[in-house]
C-alpha cells in the first residue's frame, strides 16, 4: 500500500467513526446497510474474487447463520456471542459439503454456480417445513429496549449496530489484505487464472479451494448473525432468496471483483444509488410502477459497460493508489 492509499484509508476510517455524531437516524441506517453489504461482499469476494469460484447462493450462509444464532436466542435465550460459533460451524459445514461435491467431481464454472443456487433453494424449502424455526411464518426475536446497550445479547440503539458493522468491515478488509499477500492469496489467484497451470506448480487445488470456501462461508455466517439481531425477524422466503444472493454479489461486481476495496466502494455506490433514485423520483413526483428498477438497472449496465473491471480499479488509477 502506498502513502496516499494509507492516508485516504485513515481519513475514511476517521470519517466513518465520526459519522454517527453528525448523521441523523435515517442516514445512520443507510450507512449501516452499506457496511453490511461491504462486509458481506468482501466475504463473497474471497471465494470468487480471490479463488475464482462463483457462488450464486451465498444467501445460504447468511440464512443458516441467522437462523442458527436466532434459534438459540429465541428458544434458549442464548446470546449471539455463543450463537456465532454455531452459525459459523453450520455454514462452514454446508460450504464444505458443496465444495466437496463440486471440487471432487469436477463441477466448475457455471455448473458450480448452479450447484450453489440449488443448495440455497433446497435449504429455503427445507426451512419452510421446519416448524421449530417458525416455518414460512417466520421467526421473531424479542426486541428489547432500544435506548440501552446490552452487549451480551447484542441489543441496543442503532449506533451500536453501526459500530459493530464498521468493526466487521474493517476487520474483513484487514483479513483480506493479509490473505492476498499470503501463500493462500497467491495460490488462489493462480487457481482463478488457470487451474491446470496451478496444479502443475504443485498446488493441491482441491485443498486451497476448500479453504476459500471455509473462510468465505464463515465470514458470511457472521453477516447472518448480525442480520438476525438487527432485523429481529427471519423468513425463509426472504433470507434464502436468490435475489438476496444477487444483492450480495452486486457490490463486489460493480466495485471490482478480486480487489480489496471494490466490494466496499460497490456497496456504497449501489446503496446510495438506490436511495438516490427513490428520493429523486419522489421529488419529481413520478409514480410509474417499476421505474426505479429500470433506472437502477440502466445505471448498473452503464457501469459495467464503461468499467468492466469495476469502479475501483478505474478510480484507483485516477487517484494514484494501488488496487
Amino acid at each position: 500500500m502506498n502513502r496516499r492509499a494509507a492516508a485516504l484509508l485513515l481519513a475514511l476510517g476517521a470519517l466513518l467513526v465520526a459519522l454517527p455524531h453528525v448523521a441523523g437516524s435515517y442516514a445512520l441506517s443507510v450507512a449501516t446497510l452499506i457496511l453490511y453489504f461491504a462486509y458481506t461482499g468482501q466475504a463473497w469476494n474471497v471465494m470468487m474474487g480471490f479463488a475464482g469460484q462463483l457462488s450464486l447462493g451465498h444467501s445460504i450462509y447468511v440464512g443458516v447463520g441467522a437462523y442458527a444464532a436466532g434459534a438459540l436466542f429465541f428458544h434458549y435465550g442464548i446470546g449471539p456471542w455463543a450463537g456465532l460459533w454455531l452459525a459459523i460451524a453450520l455454514s462452514v459445514l454446508i460450504g464444505l459439503v458443496i465444495g466437496f461435491l463440486a471440487f471432487r467431481f469436477g463441477i466448475s464454472g457455471v455448473y458450480f454456480a448452479l450447484l450453489t443456487i440449488a443448495f440455497a433453494e433446497f435449504t429455503r424449502i427445507g426451512f419452510d417445513h421446519l416448524d421449530w424455526l417458525g416455518g414460512p411464518g417466520g421467526m421473531f426475536l424479542k426486541v428489547a429496549q432500544r435506548d440501552q446497550i446490552d452487549l451480551a445479547n447484542f441489543r441496543g440503539p442503532p449506533i451500536m449496530y453501526y459500530y459493530a458493522m464498521l468493526a466487521l468491515s474493517a476487520a474483513a478488509l484487514a483479513l483480506c489484505a493479509w490473505l492476498l499477500r499470503s501463500r493462500a492469496g497467491y495460490y488462489w489467484r493462480a487457481i482463478r487464472e488457470d487451474e491446470e497451470a496451478a496444479q502443475a506448480l504443485g498446488i493441491n487445488t482441491f485443498r486451497w479451494k476448500m479453504l476459500a470456501v471455509t473462510i468465505s462461508s464463515a465470514m458470511t455466517a457472521i453477516s447472518g448473525v448480525f442480520f438476525a439481531f438487527y432485523y429481529n425477524n427471519l423468513f425463509p422466503e426472504q433470507i434464502f432468496n436468490i435475489g438476496r444472493s444477487i444483492e450480495i454479489i452486486l457490490g463486489p461486481v460493480i466495485g471490482g471483483v478480486g480487489t480489496l476495496f471494490g466490494p466496499i466502494l460497490g456497496a456504497a455506490v449501489l446503496t446510495l444509488l438506490s436511495d438516490g433514485i427513490t428520493e429523486a423520483l419522489a421529488a419529481f413526483g413520478w409514480e410509474i410502477p417499476g421505474i426505479k428498477q429500470v433506472l437502477y438497472g440502466l445505471v448498473l449496465l452503464a457501469a459495467i459497460m464503461f468499467m468492466p473491471h469495476g469502479i475501483w480499479p478505474a478510480l484507483a488509477r485516477r487517484i494514484g493508489v494501488d488496487r
Binding site: Y186, A190, E193, A197, A198, Q199, A200, L201, G202, N204
Partner: protein, 242 residues
C-alpha cells in the same frame, strides 16, 4: 548412468484414436534428452502422462525408482518434475514476478523467500525488465520464457519442456539453449525437451527419441538419429526449421 525417468511401455488412446502406443523412454540422471517427431505424433501426450494430467491406459512411469503413474499433477510436481505447457498457460492477471512467485512458493518457506527466488529466475530468463508487467501483456516468446521460469521456480530435478523455443529468433534461441546448458551443468537438472527447432535440439540433447504415430521409431545420439532413413522419411525430410 542411472535413469531419472523411465517410461515403460506406456499407451494412451483418445476415444479409439491411438495417440501413444507402447512407448519406452529412459531419461538418465543429469542428461538432456530430446523428443522429436511430426505434429500429432503423441509427444505432448507422453508429457501429460508423466505429469499426471492423463492416466496411461497401459504401462508404468517410474521417477527416481518410484512409480508416479496414478499421481495427481501437484503430486508429480512435489516428486520433483516441473513441466511447461505447449499451449502456454500464464496467470494472465498476475504480474510476471507474481507468476513465478507462485511456482517458487512450492519449495519456499514463505512469500518473501519465494519472491526473492522468483526474482532471480526472472532475471536469469531475461524477463527482468518486464517483471512488474501483467503476464497478459507479454509476447508469445516471452510467455514461453515465463512458462520455463515458473516451472524452474518449483526447483525440479527433471524439467519437461514442450516446444519452448518456437517463435524465438535464432539469437534468442541460442540464449535459451545456453541458459538450459548452464542450469544442467551447474545444478545437474535433468531435462527432457520436445522441440521442432532442430538447431536447439542438436545443440542441447545428448540423446534423441523419435516418435511417429505414437510409436518410438528411432533413438540414439543426435548425429545418428538425423541420418536414420526412417526419421528422414517421416519427419526431418519435410517441415523442419533449422
Amino acid at each position: 548412468m542411472s535413469a531419472a525417468l523411465e517410461v515403460r511401455g506406456v499407451s494412451k488412446s483418445f476415444r479409439g484414436l491411438r495417440a501413444v502406443h507402447d512407448a519406452w523412454i529412459d531419461v538418465p540422471q543429469g542428461a538432456i534428452v530430446g523428443l522429436i517427431g511430426p505434429n500429432g505424433a503423441g509427444k505432448t501426450t507422453i508429457f501429460n502422462m508423466v505429469a499426471g494430467v492423463y492416466a496411461a491406459d497401459a504401462g508404468e512411469i517410474v521417477f527416481r525408482g518410484r512409480r508416479i503413474d496414478g499421481l495427481r499433477p501437484d503430486q508429480v510436481c512435489a516428486a520433483g518434475i516441473g513441466r511447461t505447457f505447449q499451449l502456454v498457460k500464464p496467470f494472465a492477471g498476475l504480474s510476471v514476478l507474481d507468476n513465478v512467485t507462485v511456482g517458487a512458493l512450492h519449495r519456499a518457506p514463505n512469500v518473501s523467500a519465494a519472491k526473492k527466488h522468483a526474482a532471480e529466475i526472472v532475471e536469469r530468463l531475461g524477463l527482468g525488465a518486464k517483471r512488474e508487467q501483467p503476464a497478459s501483456s507479454l509476447t508469445l516468446p516471452d510467455r514461453k520464457r515465463l512458462e520455463v521460469a515458473r516451472a524452474l521456480a518449483t526447483r525440479p530435478e527433471l524439467l519437461l519442456l514442450d516446444e519452448v523455443m518456437a517463435g524465438l529468433r535464432p539469437t534468442e534461441c541460442d540464449q535459451m539453449v545456453e541458459a538450459f546448458r548452464e542450469i544442467n551443468r551447474a545444478e545437474g537438472l535433468t531435462i527432457m525437451l520436445i522441440e521442432h527447432v532442430m538447431r536447439a535440439v542438436m545443440a542441447l540433447a545428448q540423446r534423441i527419441v523419435v516418435l511417429h504415430h505414437g510409436e518410438v521409431i528411432a533413438r540414439g545420439a543426435p548425429g545418428e538419429v538425423v541420418r536414420d532413413p526412417a526419421v528422414l522419411g517421416c519427419y526431418l525430410g519435410e517441415e523442419t526449421e533449422v
